[in-house]
């Protein structure tokens, strides 16, 4: 069972619907006990980095415990940014620090937020992106972006390169919305389910 962590940061129906479509059992939950039983954990989320304050206490502990148990974790959009050290959007807060670096605003030369379909520069070594063609189109909607780091396995160009996909061991993060990225997104989610 996949636990989709609900911390009141946006609408999770679409994420659940994508797993339903793939025939994989997924539950939307904010109960630490459910997360403790999950074989995989998804951290979705949209909106301001401040929304991650809801991921404190028992809920954060449940996620960290899952990581310690080597349960595959997929952060989507804000969920991925929370896996980094911090974000300029709410500098007083700390992320999980699973990936090093700080999320920043886009360069002033491009319109922000970055909304729409953009292309992925795919690293062939990625397990999450296995079988996904180079320059696949995926759907983004965000105002802050994570830097390119050692764990970056998918880059995207928009006012400079940023991390669209990060991966290390059983930790995965995607800045775009696989549940809204047509067949490319479903392909990625299927890869995650099959880990």
């Amino acid at each position: 069972m996949i636990a989709i962590v609900d911390y009141q940061a946006g609408n999770l129906t679409s994420v659940k619907k994508a797993f339903d479509h793939l025939g994989v059992e997924a539950v939307i939950t904010s109960a630490p006990v459910t997360i403790a039983r999950a074989s995989k954990v998804v951290l979705p989320g949209v909106g301001n980095f401040e929304a991650t304050t809801a991921l404190s206490g028992a809920l954060q502990e449940a996620v960290v415990n899952a990581i310690d148990r080597k349960v595959p974790l997929l952060g989507i959009c804000l969920g991925m940014q929370w896996m980094f050290d911090s974000s300029r959007e709410a500098p007083q807060l700390r992320g999980l620090g699973l990936f090093s670096g700080e999320c920043e605003k886009f360069h002033a030369s491009v319109k922000s937020p970055h909304v729409g379909w953009n292309q992925l520069q795919v690293d062939a070594s990625s397990r999450l992106l296995r079988g996904l063609p180079q320059d696949s189109f995926v759907y983004f909607t965000h105002s802050y972006r994570a830097p390119v780091v050692e764990a970056t396995v998918g880059r995207c160009e928009y006012g400079g390169l940023f991390s669209a996909v990060v991966e290390r061991g059983e930790l995965f993060g995607v800045q775009f919305h696989p549940e809204k990225s047509g067949s490319a997104g479903l392909h990625l989610l299927r890869n995650f389910c099959e880990l």
Binding site: A9, G10, N11, T13, S14, K17, A18, H21, V46, G47, N48, K111, S112, P113, H114, V115, G116, W117, N118, Q119, F137, Y139, T141, H142, E157, Y158, E179, K180, S181, G182, S183, G185, L186
Partner: protein, 257 residues
Amino acid sequence: MLTKRIIACLDVDAGRVVKGVQFSDLRDAGDPAELALTHGRAGADEVVLLDISATYENRSTLLDVVRRTARQLFIPFTVGGGIRSLDDAAAVFDAGADKVAVNSAALADPALIGRIAHRYGSQAVIVAIDALRIGNGNGRSFGVKATGGRHITGRDAVAWAAEAEQCGAGEILLTSIDRDGMRDGFDCELTRAVVSAVNIPVIASGGAGAAGHFIEVFREGHADAALAASIFHLGITPIGELKQELQVAGIPMRWPC
């Protein structure tokens, strides 16, 4: 490269897709869920479902049409029409929408935009503006109509778009009432005026008839996305062919997809 988006719009009345000319003379164009899926497979970058009679007849959005349509659609899906409160928006999100479009209710109470954005994020709130030309030459301006083009408001479309952004809108869906259903081109002047007044994406709507119209609205209107309805439903311009033609013209497109 970030592409320009081609959006298929389903105007829904009593559970069926309809198409009119200048917001009236409605004709049946099919089942919303089937059409949404067809358009998605054909290459549409997003689907918008507008319950065009919801506000006027004072009934809530057709949630099971939304649910049925959302079930198979894995591209962004926007629902508008009859969304008057945060609760209305929540019901539509629960039924599977990714974004809501608010129009008349936001004109009456602009703070509604912020209430929905606070809960679901700005990216989930589109402010739809039905604009029309007023006057000629130097005296030209763009007015705003409410309740499906039935009532003129005192607002200026460009100023309202800027205010909507300040209130928390993530995108503007800008429809030219003058061009709606005419298939003689988008209102590029209106589109450009709004694009230069805001920093969020602007979706141009009203007047799509041929590939050349899309090229114009992207190049001259500076639109981020363009929306059309009847030319897709009636098969006048297949989405795939349209996207290939735009790509050849140098407009970045998600194709093949």
